[in-house]
């Protein structure tokens, strides 16, 4: 598989932006500057980016409560995202959604969803629209190992097979559903094999390997666009941080947390692209600095941005009432 420099740099930029965004949000949250709950995607960047690099703005995705990574991978505006986390008027959702409901329909990001297993039915709906309107678009659901056990996930897979919908179910195995390990909660111990039982192609890849994710997604998305129906991709990438920011992580060993940092998707990407002379170090360093500035500016802007007015409380419940 040959990827152009342009694609490789874009991929690195998106992954680096996710990493920087999440790590900076962690700092600001711990200082008390961000309200509510935050669920970090650190360590899983290649999963979102590997998939989303195969999509354009018109394709739809939906995510979980751990949605910042998918948002950024789908090219949502970082500054508007940060403002949303800070609950500001010019946030991506007007400050009305926050981290767990962050969305941008213009970029085909149909929202982070705070209900585990909440998005698969909506995603097959987007796929149904694509099929009915005949526009060649696809829809991708990102669900965790926790959400993979939800009835909604199974029902949606079945429906997607029955109606032959252009949907892709990306099951992100990040090791834990809240505090409970994948190995305990997933009775079949193998999400991929279980999904295949629903009658759709299912494959598992290393979620810390951008190239593996990219290739698996490319095949699945092409299948969907060609009218050949839905697929499942399980990406395995253990989350570095807790379920939520502040999680004491009593359910994990310290050794595990050290070990997973040996499999940093960004370092892996760098090693491969530099080792194979696909990219040069200064190109990547330049992106690192760019992203650092971008996120730094986003935080500074979000911290001082206008708050929603109290009148905004009552708007947009309905289109008309």
């Amino acid at each position: 598989m040959h990827l152009s420099q342009e694609i490789l740099l874009d991929a690195y930029r998106r992954m680096r932006t996710i990493r920087e965004f999440e790590e900076r949000v962690k700092v600001e949250f711990e200082k008390g500057n961000i309200p509510g709950f935050i669920h970090l995607y650190v360590g899983q960047e290649a999963s979102a980016v590997g998939v989303c690099m195969n999509l354009d703005d018109r394709d739809a995705i939906a995510s979980t409560h751990r949605g910042h990574g998918h948002c950024i991978a789908k090219r949502c505006d970082v500054s508007a995202m940060m403002k949303e986390l800070y609950g500001r008027r010019d946030g991506l959702c007007g400050g009305k959604g926050g981290s767990m409901h962050i969305a941008d329909f213009e970029r085909g990001m149909l929202g982070a969803n705070a209900i585990v297993g909440g998005n698969p039915p909506m995603v097959i709906g987007a796929a149904l629209s694509a099929k009915t309107l005949g526009n060649g678009q696809v829809a991708v659901s990102f669900t965790g190992d926790g959400g993979s056990n939800q009835g909604t996930t199974f029902e949606s897979m079945n429906m997607a097979v029955v109606l032959k919908l252009p949907a892709i179910f990306v099951l992100e195995n990040n090791g834990y559903g809240e505090n409970t390990s994948h190995d305990y909660a997933v009775g079949s111990k193998d999400m991929t094999a279980r999904a295949a039982g629903f009658g759709l192609p299912a494959t598992r890849v290393d979620g810390t390997d951008f190239f593996a994710v990219y290739e698996a997604a490319r095949e699945a998305i092409e299948r969907a666009r060609n009218g050949e129906g839905p697929s499942v991709i399980e990406t395995v990438a253990i989350r570095w941080h807790g379920h939520f920011l502040g999680d004491p992580q009593v359910y994990r060993s310290k050794a595990e947390q050290v070990d997973i940092r040996e499999h940093d998707p960004l370092e892996k990407f760098k090693a491969k692209t530099l080792g194979d002379d696909l990219l040069e170090e200064n190109q990547l360093d330049h992106i690192d600095q760019d992203v650092k500035n971008l996120v730094g500016q986003a935080i500074s802007d979000a911290s001082t941005a206008e708050l929603p007015s109290v009148d905004d409380l009552l708007t947009d419940v309905y289109t008309t009432y």
Binding site: K96, G118, A126, A130
Partner: protein, 338 residues
Amino acid sequence: MAKKSYRQALNEALRQEMQRDPTVILAGVDIAGGLSSAPEDVRDTKGSGGVLGVTGGLLEAFGPGRVIETPITESATIGMCAGAACTGLRPVADLMFVDFLGVCFDQIFNQAAKLRYMFGGKAQVPMVIRAMVGGGLNAAAQHSQMLHSLFTHIPGLKVVLPSGPYDAKGLLIQAIRDNDPVIFLEHKALYDIEEDVPDESYTLPFGEANFVTDGDDVTVIAFSKMVHLAKAVADKLSKDGISVELLDPRTTSPLDEDSILESVEKTGRVVIVDEGHLRCGLAADIAALIASKAFHDLKAPIGLVTAPHTPVPFAPVLENAYLPSEDKIEAAMRKVMV
């Protein structure tokens, strides 16, 4: 214009809207009588169109791309319709019995109802969920409920309860054209009742009550099938010189509060008739509205006629005791006249 049944009026509404707008699709279990999955030689027969026939003939008219029969997986079906609604289609989902809402309620109240608000106004969810409500067919506890108050409680949903064929057609067309999620509740005991219904398309606005009768002595507010019982009692009491003002709000969300309060101001006496339960139900909701905003207009305590705090029983003698009846409504009306 012709005499049509509630069922036919609904079928016409769906057919006319599907003809007018190619983005209107239907989805649900057996909405074409199961013909989508039937063997070739059976497919020539007309579909029965849903459990009580409302969607009959629509698969033949519009094809399986627009009339989608689904497996019995309500979460996936309702959620799929919500997702399709916010990405360019206008789905009318068929939940069949409202009692099944438990199976898919997250997709209704946490997803469809809230997408617009949570996403700062950037999404709109123009979907309709049709469902059958109500008792009187001995269908027992899990097939006879009303549950409209559960939906009414949720910001982001609109809730419609047509009481007759004319209202049903106009309100369903309105619901399909509305850009918000609408819960459209059809009383299963009303499907065969007939009245004059125009042949052409027309809409009826949400949040506007129908004054079934005008009167000066007592305001009666009733929904769905209860409107017919209340009307029968009103006719009877008018012979005794009691003039009843009967309001059918048609929609519980939005609710025509102005008409209700104006009527109470005029009569000072109120009876609310609802087939739902009293606790957290529509009767309690409207009583609170009246007590808080029209207290000084009241000449008597508010009369409430509702189902008791029990599931719907099976045995006909018990179900008859459960449902509000003309006798109970008459007793309530006479009591507020004292």
